[in-house]
Amino acid sequence: MHKADSHVQQRVPGWMGEIVKARMERLRLLNQDGQPLGRSMGEVVRIWAQVLAARLPMADEALDAPRIHAAFDMLERTRDRWPQPANLLAALPARPDPPILPPPELTPEQRAAVSATIAELRAKFRMR
């Protein structure tokens, strides 16, 4: 594995790390089978955060923090064993669609040109 492909050196934005810490603390309190033991939990949190940051290299707090919370919500609701980072990534919802722009305004000339084109096509295909 090339170093460039590895998440091991992945820089984790502070806001993302804090979310992972807070949510994994909650997960740990659920006392699920397979959970990390004692102090190892600190390194487990770091690995999860690095994996997540590698998946979201262009992460934006406003757009992605709600997604990460939603993914952890899903894990809390559905898992009855201690999850893996892959489960978090799988539960990550898509970014919300950008707002739909209104159709462009046509000038009278453009509108006339479009009408002419449509009329031409109708005549060509013998449409009424």
Binding site: P13, E25, G38, M41
Partner: protein
């Protein structure tokens, strides 16, 4: 009516003693104390009396107030006063009859008594206070649970720009 001080053996009329403001205050102070504190306190005050000079009422009043301020717990203070008086009595039997000059010895005895009793009351010096807090912490110390260890480990993680 003539009264004789059981500590310094000074003898005077009750009216004469009552004429002194400090004496009146001291009597009022002593009469308001529990006997278990008041009795050893009177003997303790006697330890400040020199062999040739009687203890002035002013000084006795000041010393009594200072001694009472050494510890908040009356039981601890009473025990410490009693032990101090007894220790000084034994010391004087060996020929050392120098009067006390301050409350340092009493304070040390209070520390010992308080620790022995496991007292939680606020003690007079920061050092003693720390000793008592350490003792209380040790008494309640227990191994961390797995969950507590895990939570502490999570909270100790730091990220790049957090």
């Amino acid at each position: 009516m003539r009264l004789r001080c059981p500590v310094c053996h000074a003898e005077a009329a009750l009216e004469a003693w009552a004429e002194d403001e400090a004496a009146r205050e001291l009597m009022g102070l002593l009469s308001g104390l529990e006997a278990e504190v008041g009795r050893p306190l009177v003997h303790y005050l006697g330890l400040f009396r020199g062999s040739r000079r009687a203890l002035s009422w002013d000084r006795a009043l000041r010393l009594a107030r200072e001694a009472l301020a050494v510890h908040a717990d009356g039981a601890v203070l009473a025990a410490a006063l009693t032990e101090t008086v007894e220790a000084m009595r034994q010391k004087r039997e060996t020929g050392d009859v120098r009067p006390l000059e301050n409350h340092n010895y009493l304070k040390r005895v209070v520390q010992t008594v308080a620790l022995r009793a496991g007292a939680d009351a606020v003690l007079p010096t920061a050092q003693v206070d720390q000793v008592v807090r350490d003792r209380a912490r040790q008494a309640t110390a227990r191994p961390l649970s797995g969950v507590e260890e895990a939570i502490l480990a999570v909270r100790s993680v730091r990220f790049d720009d957090a």
